[in-house]
Symmetry: C2
Subunit: 191 residues, 2 copies
DNA sequence: TTGTGAAACGGACTGCGGTCCGCTACTGTC
DNA sequence: GACAGTAGCGGACCGCAGTCCGTTTCACAA
């Protein structure tokens, strides 16, 4: 593991240009109607640059979501309870699920892109690991006899963007999903 | 809704050829290393034929899984308990989850393809509806105060092919998943 | 400054999924 | 058997994701 070299000036400039262009085009035309060619053009860079920087379409979506997710991560780690430390595990779990559902709902399209990388992108990226570890710790604390690792995955599974989108289409509203998930969490972690 | 005309002879012949060719190539090279061009060629038909018949890649995967899934569907509807009617709801739920996990595990690659149609293919296809209705009925019967509709989705979510594959890669074995899911189901539907 | 090695660039290129539409051949009728 | 109408065929075609590699630009040192 060598030292990570600082980002070169042109690289940084282009990275920001691409993110900005993507944000603009996604907002204007809808995520799935924008090709990476178009983003590269809008950003005034070559296509290769976009791919070298972000790997693939999912990687770009992840980068765009990053800021929003970091906000939630910060609240979880250092914010006030019940999201942050200090509240009982079950409360923290449901606070997290609620917060994530809202984030997801605000950015469904982007999440769908970020999770749709043909080969399990969702479960490889850093933020999923963070959510998973967080839940696993809380589950472990509340109920050590459970398989916390697996249970955390099972609780995160209903937060898949595709499912969320499908339920939305079927007329489920956010509150119903929050209530449903809270019920599941409560059943798993009885007081 | 007009009468469904009987399948024309050439259509049937080609459909079977394509399924056979796909099966052969998938087995030989791995699902994700086979293009639809290749399948068409192997089947001795044009590419257009494959797409008209199956819609897209996911549709072909669904068709290949169909036979296996129908077997499970039959067991659920008319087979002996606990999978079939007659056992208590919780037993039927866990029997179903176990059976589905085994099916999923045997055909992960195909399931991944069938669920990966960029826009929520999984939740549109007939078999998902069937699994969902089945679970929803059982949940409703066991515990009428729950939101059976949502809860059924939440129980199916951990059966997503991508997640299963990711967990497998991380070293989870089938029994651990069965146990974990059974715990979730039991917590939701206490005796 | 100028020189040098390495990082980043960019656009031509490849291969695939999916569409389109003029052509073919099956089926049911006389 | 001949005919007409239609379902089905197939391959050329399109657009996009992702790769490759010769060229440019940067950072740093002398």
């Amino acid at each position: 593991m060598g030292e990570p070299r600082p980002e070169r000036a042109d690289a940084r400039r282009n990275r920001l240009r691409v993110l900005e262009a993507a944000d603009r085009l996604f907002t204007e035309h809808g995520v799935k109607n924008v090709s990476l060619d178009a983003i590269a053009a809008e950003a005034g860079v070559g296509k290769g640059t976009v791919f070298r920087r972000f790997g693939d379409r999912a990687g770009l979506a992840v980068a765009l979501l990053d800021e929003r997710e970091q906000e939630l991560q910060a609240k979880i780690i250092t914010g006030p309870p019940p999201l942050g430390p200090g509240a009982p595990p079950l409360d923290r779990v449901t606070a997290f699920l609620d917060a994530y559902l809202e984030l997801l709902d605000r950015h469904v399209e982007l999440f769908m892109d970020s999770e749709n990388a043909s080969d399990g992108a969702r479960y490889r990226i850093g933020s999923y690991h963070l959510w998973h570890r967080h839940l696993a710790h809380l589950i472990e604390a509340a109920h050590p006899s459970l398989d916390a690792n697996y249970t955390a995955h099972a609780l995160l599974a209903p937060l898949a963007a595709d499912l969320h989108n499908a339920l939305r289409t079927q007329g489920f509203d956010l509150d119903r999903m929050k209530a449903g998930l809270r019920t599941v969490a409560t059943a798993l972690l009885p007081a």
